[in-house]
Amino acid sequence: MGRKSTIAMEKARALHRRRSVKWGYIWALWCAVFWGAWYLPGTAVWSAAPYRFMTFETKAEFLLAAAVITAFNAIGVLLFQLLWLASLDKLDEYWRTLWRFRTISKWFFLAAIFGGPCALFGSYLAIGFIGPVFAAVAALLYPIIGATLARFWYNEKITLRAAMGILVIVGGGVTIFVPGLFSETASTSDLIWIGYLGGAMAAFGWGVEGAVAGRALDVTDPDVGITIRFTAEVFYWVFLLLPAAALFYDAPVIEQVQATFNFWAILWLLLAGLTFGFCYVTWYKSFPLIGVGRGQAIGALYGVFAVIFLAIFAFQFPEWNFILGLALTVGGGFLMITESSEVVEVVRAPSAKQMQTSVMRHASVTRKMHMKGFILRLLDEAGNEGLWDHEIMKLVFEEYGRDGAYWKGEIRATLTDLFSGALVHEVEDDLDDGRYFGEGKILMKFRLSPFGAARMLETGLA
C-alpha cells in the first residue's frame, strides 16, 4: 500500500475512534441535560392537586404520595421510550429482545429494582422532604458505585485519570451532603431524615442500576434495553408495589391514583416521563461507547443543569456548598472528557478465564434473533475468516428487510458498540471508496473474540 494510502487509513482510523468516543460523551451529556430538566416537572407535580393540598403529617402519607408519583413517572417514561423506539424503527427489536428473558432481559428487570423503587423513589422523597436542589445534587455519588461494580464484574477499564475524575466528583458529593447534615434546611419536620435517606437511595440505586444493566447491554441494543428496564419498573409498581401497599398497609392507593388524574398533575407527570425517558435512553447509549463509569460520571453533570434550570425557571438558588460541590463535579467530569480517545476506545478488558476459547454450537440463524445477536452469530459462523462491516450490513439488510442511510449508520454504531465491549476484534481495515458508508471512512473486518464467544454462550445466543 502506498504511503498516501497508509496515511489516509491512519487518519480514517483515528477519526472513527475519535467520533465514537465523541458520540459517547455527547449521549452522556444529553442524559445530563434531560436529567437536570426533569427536576422542573418532578418538583412542579408536588404543586399540583392533590399533592399541594396534602399536609404530610405522617410518614405513611408522604411515602404513598411519593410512590404514586414515581409509578406515574415510570408509566410516562415507558410511553415516551416506546415513542423513541417507534421513531427509530426499533419496536420489533424490543419484542425480539424482551422474550429472551432467562439469559438477557432478566438483567434489565434486576436493574429496574435499583433504578425505580430505589433511586427514582428516593429522589422523589428527597424532593418532597428537603427540596429539588438537594435531591439533584445528593445523587451525585452514583458514578462511584457504578464504576466500582463495573470494574469488578466485567473488568471495565478505569484509567488513573478516570479514577481521579470520579474521586473529584465524590468530593463534590461530600461537599453537598455534609453541611446539609448539620445545618437547617427548608423543612423543620422531624421526618426530614427520610429526605436524606432518599438522596442516599438515589445515589446507590442509580449506581448499581448502570452496572447491572451493563451485564446485558453488550449483547443488546441500548435503546431497547432501557425500554425493557422500564417495562419491568412499570410492572413492579402497577402489579406489585402499589397493590401491596393497598393490601398490606391499608394505604388509600386507589383514591390517590384517582385524585392524580387532573390536567396539571398528568401534564407534569408526562413531562417528567419525557425528560426522564430521554435521559435514560441517552445514558444507556453512552455506556457501550465510553463505559459505564465515564457515562455515569458525565451524566452526573445533571446537577449543573438542574441548578441552572431551577435558578432560571423557579428562582431557586443553591447554597454555597452546592455551588462548590457542583464546581467539583464539573471539574471531575472534564478530567474524564479530556482523556485521549485512544485510551478510551476499548472499554472492557476480559479476564483470562473469559479469554479461553469456548466450543460453540453452530446453530442456524433464526429470524427471531434480535439484530445484535444475529450479527454475533454471523461472526461466529464466519470463524477466523471474519466478516467486513459492509458484508454484515448486507446480510442484516437481507434478514430484516432494512435499507437506507439510517440503518447503515445503526449497523456501524452496533459494530462500534461490539468492538468497545471487546466482543469482536478488528482483523483488517480498508478505506471506503464511497460504495458503503461514505467516501474516506474506515471499513473494518471483524472476528468474534473469545470473550464474545463466551458472552454468546452466557446469554443463550450460541
Binding site: R19, V33, A37, L271, A413
Partner: protein
C-alpha cells in the same frame, strides 16, 4: 406548595414546557442521524 410558589415568574411553566419539548425533538433528530456520522 402552590404552583405559583414554585415558578419564579409569570409564564415560567409554559417556557419550561416549550424548552423540554424542543430539546426532545432535537435529541430525537440526532438519534436518527448519528450513525451516519461515525
Amino acid at each position: 406548595m402552590k404552583m405559583s410558589e414554585f415558578w419564579g415568574f409569570e409564564g415560567a411553566h409554559l417556557l419550561a414546557i416549550a424548552m423540554i419539548v424542543i430539546l426532545a425533538c432535537i435529541c430525537l433528530y440526532m438519534a436518527r442521524t448519528w450513525g451516519g456520522k461515525l
